[in-house]
Symmetry: C2
Subunit: 190 residues, 2 copies
Amino acid sequence: MKKIYFITSNKGKVLEAQNKFSTINIDIVQKNFGYPEIQAEKLEDVAVFGVKYLQDRINEPFILEDAGLFIDVLNGFPGVYSSYVYHTLGCEGVLLLMKDFNESKRDATFRSVFAYKEPKSKPLFFVGECDGKISTELLGDNGFGYDPIFIPHGSNRTFAQMKTDEKNSFSHRGKSLDKLINNFGKNITI
Amino acid sequence: MKKIYFITSNKGKVLEAQNKFSTINIDIVQKNFGYPEIQAEKLEDVAVFGVKYLQDRINEPFILEDAGLFIDVLNGFPGVYSSYVYHTLGCEGVLLLMKDFNESKRDATFRSVFAYKEPKSKPLFFVGECDGKISTELLGDNGFGYDPIFIPHGSNRTFAQMKTDEKNSFSHRGKSLDKLINNFGKNITI
């Protein structure tokens, strides 16, 4: 079976990718290699820099991913720094920042960018997005991160109120992974 | 006159450094070279990565600096990401996050880290700090960034209510620069 390294410390992301890639008979192997993530406004810039750093060090096909929650009325905050903000302010901090905005001003987007790189080829990038709204309170116990305050369009419940399958049907990461997989047999040869 | 490159896009920082370095007969020359700033919890890590990136590209003595505002009760937020947070949430966003904390819980620290690197020597790092409190409202028109909401210990006014000389007597950047300059003739030869 062909294999692709997934450069990440996040086991949950690996499982999600393995699940998708198994349908096309490709093995996703986690490599907790570590690479510098730069400060930038766009996830794409973080991914491009990561690929450049890793391509001199890994001589096998690999993927990496960066994701974030972008809130319109907060100029995209927490965006690329979603993980840092989650660990310092938490969902409660984000709700506080949103407290004076009514439903019409609570639009937000979860974004995921996958990079795929194989030796001697240019990297390819795949973006997945999930539009939705920030809830007015913490709702639900499932999931992680900002799941308790994000209600995707097409639902009236937060990600944390959904079972995994339902959440994945909306998921930004599911969409970017689908795009990546659909590209095999087109741009990508392994 | 000996010269040192200051790798920064910030003219204000350059002027502050030129002012200090003129006392020891060293010319500070701005070089808007650009280098990747990584996502990290500590300013020191950002500076270390910057030096590693630049040392292969610049064969002259150079300095760089990173700075941030660390608020105790917000787990150090906005910290290394102070510039990004300023441009997305602004001082108003920080005040909102602090609204339920009384004076005893408004401690914060401005930090500055300078790196000095000359060819064939290990980099040296100099930290300057200014402890203070976050005000409960925007006060003053001078300065920039978080100056209108930061009251340094030893004063009852914000940086933005002070003239430049008074602010500089407290300044984190002034302190890290003083340490750097005091080191000339000890660790550093030019």
